[in-house]
């Protein structure tokens, strides 16, 4: 299908701890993103979702991590093998990145205008007037009022939500085909979160941009995205349209969904997932969810790795027993 924009296949990401010690942080992760799709990537801390994003925007090596094997096909280019020069034409131009709001933000010692100008002129030369016009256009696009004033301000003068809008403006400055948003609203207020989500949806609608939205909040992802990809202990284990999340084909997805507190009466019995997620470097062999799964059988622990396979035209699952448990594809 030519509708595919990017395809990550069986990727494994390692991180160097010492000269000899390597740690696997992502293993057997695959996902496909269509043009104009809003894809939610969900996982708990340590599931490798942030590393997968870094692989997509080519910033893995800054933390001593690298792609061990697998490929990322983006419009016919393998991003894993892309050179620094290739990346210069991809990063920002074709793939935009919105960082985690709590950790990163606009450079605190640069005016908003200067940072936008940097994002706008990337690689090409543009006149001052052109840059200014485009900056204002972008700020209006992310619904910042009085853009002329904001251009002259420093980040500390803006609220958290405003800063994140500026980051979004930077990310879309070159009309990228794909935007990777890594927990863009973590730490922001719920009302601001709702506004930012609305904004991302509008951008997608207006420019037909594909967006990967990363979060640990299933409720949020479910309400915003078309498709959900679930990561657990470094692997992608489920892909399901958000409309069919109750018919998911992996016990982990069900467990996550069922543990939502808005499904029960106040102080009612919650269906929690028992135990702790396996920590990086201590993944069990076989299905890495086996220890916490209600349906576990010996075969789950002996099949390694559990293949991530397409079950029907919209759903993928890494549970080898999904047919037994959920009665096959519906």
């Amino acid at each position: 299908m030519s509708n595919v924009l990017a395809k990550i296949q069986d990727i494994r990401i390692d991180v160097r701890v010492t000269r000899r010690l390597r740690l696997r942080i992502v293993d057997t992760a695959s996902l496909t993103i269509q043009k104009g799709q809003l894809l939610g990537l969900i996982g708990e801390s340590g599931s490798g979702k942030t590393m997968l994003c870094r692989a997509l925007v080519g910033t893995l090596n800054r933390r001593g991590a690298y792609v061990h094997s697998g490929s990322i096909d983006f419009e016919g280019i393998d991003l894993v093998k892309a050179s620094k020069k290739d990346w210069r034409n991809i990063r920002g131009h074709k793939i935009g990145y919105i960082p985690q709001s709590a950790l990163a933000g606009p450079n605190p010692v640069m005016r908003i205008g200067a940072q936008l100008a940097e994002a706008i002129t990337q690689g090409g030369r543009k006149s001052k007037e052109e840059v200014r016009r485009r900056s204002i256009e972008l700020l209006e696009l992310v619904q910042i009022r009085r853009p002329e004033v904001v251009l002259k301000q420093y980040p500390y003068e803006l609220s958290g939500g405003m800063k994140q809008r500026v980051m979004i403006a930077c990310a879309i400055a070159q009309n990228p085909k794909l935007i990777v948003a890594d927990e863009p609203t973590t730490g922001l207020d719920v009302t601001v979160q709702a506004e930012i989500m609305e904004l991302l949806r509008n951008i997608r609608k207006e420019f037909d941009t594909s967006i990967i939205l990363v979060s640990h909040d299933l409720q949020l992802i479910n309400s915003v995205c078309d498709d959900i990809v679930v990561m657990h202990a470094g692997a992608t284990i489920e892909k399901v349209p958000s409309s069919k999340v109750t018919a998911a084909l992996h016990p982990y997805t069900h467990a996550l969904y069922d543990s939502r507190i808005d499904l029960v009466e106040p102080r009612g019995k919650l269906r929690t997932i028992k135990g702790q997620p396996p920590s990086v470097g201590k993944w069990p062999t076989g299905c890495r969810f086996a220890d916490r799964c209600d349906f576990v059988k010996d075969v789950c622990r002996s099949t390694d790795p559990t293949p991530f396979v397409q079950v029907n035209d919209s759903q993928w699952s890494a549970c080898i027993r999904h047919k037994e448990i959920y009665g096959g594809a519906k």
Partner: protein, 276 residues
Amino acid sequence: MIRRIREYAALPGGFGIICGISMFLTITILGFARPLFIPYAPDELVGDGLAGPSWQHPFGLDQLGRDMLSRTLAAVPADIGVAFLGVSIPLFIGTLIGILLAFAKNKVFLSLVGSIIDGINAFPLLIIAIAMVTFLGPGLFNVVIILALMNWARYARIARTRAQIVLRENYVEAARLMGYPRRRIIFKHVTPNVSSETLAYALSDFILVIVIISGLSFLGLGARPPAAEWGSMIADGRVFLGEAWWITVFPGLALCWSAVSISLIVEGLSRRDRAS
């Protein structure tokens, strides 16, 4: 045992830490155990002055005919021992004062001690030490006193800043909510989290203090002859550098060896810290 060391060495920075510790232990043990395996006393005249290295005297003899190997090792208690005192006393005093400052509320007291600390820290330690020696007179014992009197200020500043942060941490607030007595909070909850920081500084300070001790001795303000001390040995040998390099080179190497061993430990520890 060997397996555990291997495992430790595989951790981030572990290799450097193990190298540093073994280098440091080597020179310290050799230094303190010297009388057991070297037949010559450090101030015994055993041959002609300025005799070069030989099988009998691997480090050669100095201008008076004393065995250089014996002297170099005999200087270990003077240099490393005095440096140990010169670091641990200020470490203890400074950490305690710093923590008390973080707790203190009296503004007059705070600004008084604060300006003393800043005043002392305004000068390089070596300059203060030289100035103080002119009051107290030369000698290793006086060097220890000077370090105890002056070096605590650096530790106090680090400890105060760190303690102020720790006091705002939730676990200290939780301890206060528990109604623990103040002394328990200071010693069980605040001090361990402050001393980890000052201890780290003490390690790198150790190198500086060894250099200060030998520097003062080099200037004739530290160890008094005929005591063996690296700095004064280097000073003695300077005149004969052309004809008898061994008088300066071996004490110098010993000095380097100790400094490098500790900086290997410091580097290893900080690498381990960064990795976690």
